[in-house]
Chain length 349, copies 2
């Protein structure tokens, strides 16, 4: 094989390609499936155990003859082997996040570590050409050290962070390294995308940082003042789900392999500004109320203002975010108003 050919082995075309999304009944999974189909994918298999994701998340896709919905679990290797047969590219999203990890670290560690190992084994066995692994900015940790520009070389800070959050971050570090190990050992091509907090249509309740958006909207829709924990000065850095779906496709299409890059939105925002923006976009002029942190909730803090740099993603896979917070939130609010109506209570899982 020539250098040029070797270099492009890791590039997987979307049109005519066959794909598997694992953990598909999710915010990112459904948006990625939409985009794969829109760009001409020949087949998209959606695998989920539906422990968190509801069948509603993917219901709109069921009628497309190219879509196959599979009830499966990442802890069951034979199910992953069956689902990945003949597949060109895998987008591996199945994961327990901080809140789930806090509630049940045994299951969370199984999913985030053994689940990734199983998926890698299935990719190897079926000669899947590329795996996109959904990691997280949780690999930079939480607490005092997390401030300034977070780049791919930023170390993992854990001092004083909640154990569920630390276990989550460390499990993602291990997942990334298992991909790296499989590349070195078996030549598996992969791209790790470290998502920042994802928000958008079909928003769920599992991301600790994204809860503010839906909670604010729910309160405002009930005519209650939105709540801000503390002074609301701490930074959050979100990314719109449509931009994440584009990043997943860019990672498949690019010749890049054996690389981990951040996927974050155009700019960070403070919690107070976020709550104000959601309130305003919901057509309300209610003034936020500052409250103490609720007991028992996993709180993720930083050491000061920070920004998750996405320059490396532009260089490696030619991706950058397109949707500003204001536009993305407006879309989320339109979706939520259309879907749940004004009175439906939010289901907290």
């Amino acid at each position: 094989m020539g250098t040029e050919m070797g270099k492009n082995d890791a590039a997987v075309a979307i049109a005519g390609g066959r794909f598997l999304i694992v953990g598909a009944a999710s915010l990112v999974g459904s948006a990625t499936a939409d985009l794969l189909l829109e760009r001409g994918a020949a087949a998209v298999t959606l695998l989920d155990n539906f422990a968190f994701g509801s069948t509603e998340t993917v219901a709109h896709l069921e009628k497309d003859p190219r879509v196959r919905i599979v009830r499966g679990d990442v802890m069951r290797l034979p199910q992953l082997l069956a689902a990945s047969e003949g597949v060109d590219g895998v987008v591996h999203l199945a994961a327990a996040m901080s809140i789930s990890m806090d509630a049940d670290p045994w299951t969370g560690l199984d999913v985030n570590i053994r689940g990734v190992q199983n998926m890698i084994e299935a990719c190897r066995a079926n000669r899947v050409r590329k795996m996109v692994f959904a990691s997280s900015n949780a690999v930079y940790g939480y607490g005092p050290g997390v401030a300034g520009d977070l780049v791919e070389a930023t170390p993992f800070h854990s001092l004083g962070a909640p154990s569920g959050a630390v276990i989550y971050g460390a499990s993602k570090i291990i997942g990334e390294q298992l991909c790296r190990d499989a590349h070195r050992r078996h030549g598996l091509d992969y791209v790790v995308l470290r998502y920042s907090t994802v928000y958008g249509e079909r928003q769920h309740y599992r991301a600790a940082n994204a809860l503010y958006i839906i909670e604010t909207l729910d309160r405002v829709r009930r005519g209650e003042r939105p709540r801000v924990v503390g002074d609301g000065s701490e930074t959050k850095h979100f990314v719109y789900v449509g931009d994440v779906a584009r990043a997943n496709l860019a990672a498949l299409v690019a010749p890049a392999t054996d690389v981990a890059v951040n996927v974050s939105g155009p700019a960070p925002i403070t919690t107070l500004d976020l709550v104000r923006m959601v309130t305003r976009l919901a057509g309300s002029d209610l003034v936020p109320e500052h409250v103490d942190p609720p007991a028992g909730r996993v709180r993720l803090t930083s050491g000061g203002p920070f920004r998750i740099d996405h320059g490396a993603a532009a260089a490696a896979i030619g991706w950058q975010p397109q949707v500003a917070m204001e536009e993305g939130l407006a879309r989320l609010i339109r979706w939520r108003d259309a879907t749940v109506g004004l009175d439906a209570p939010a289901v907290h899982r």
Copy 2:
């Protein structure tokens, strides 16, 4: 319960106490057993699967009527439940280190994560009063960021480090957090000790950083020049096994709980100085030969000179190292010469 009583609940007396060492057929395990028996422990159960440790490591203990040797595996919860019945304190040493993790990450992650979870469950079920969890300075990682004073707040650096080493470090971070989670959730008292590289009598071949000592000795004993990879200027920070055994007992005896501290020797040393010291103590004047790194070996690097601070251990459990490198190495060499003779080849596992 009064404050004073509550404060001392986590203090476990050695004399008359009953203990379980998990991963006992090891350098640290056998030294810890020796010291527990010497200080009047009523019963010491030594559990190991003997996958790495040989029965020889604990053979000298078999005749003590207080000692029970159990062949068991941390992946088998019933075996841990049986072994920890009626036990006051557990010293949990069983772990896969960087080299094993590199060779077989599936087994390594099982041992370092599920094994710890199983031990915690057994401690809870049997109301074990305290667990000492052997962690590692690998929680600070490797590579450019690792330099200067490494304290308990130092974050985990992984950029560019070998995947086996990163997975090992992250698995230890998770093990520590599982202890923390069990303390918060169930009141399990524990102390995490982050050992630096342990050396001493009954030295094994599983610690990437300790290999230099035995390899140098083996070469010098064969009349060959000792080898130094590169210029030998990089730092290592060792700790003598007898000091580690004392730290394990100090962690049991102290009222401290829910804390993680470094356990390191009096001072760091460069690789070149280490090789020279071993050579001199072995009675040789051979001059080290500088060589390129062997292919396929897990190499652990730092960003510059570093020192693993052990001040927090003094504060939390009243421990500090006593044995200087020169004295510890002299003991190791006497043991090895007496045990394997001058001609016996080293067994690389």
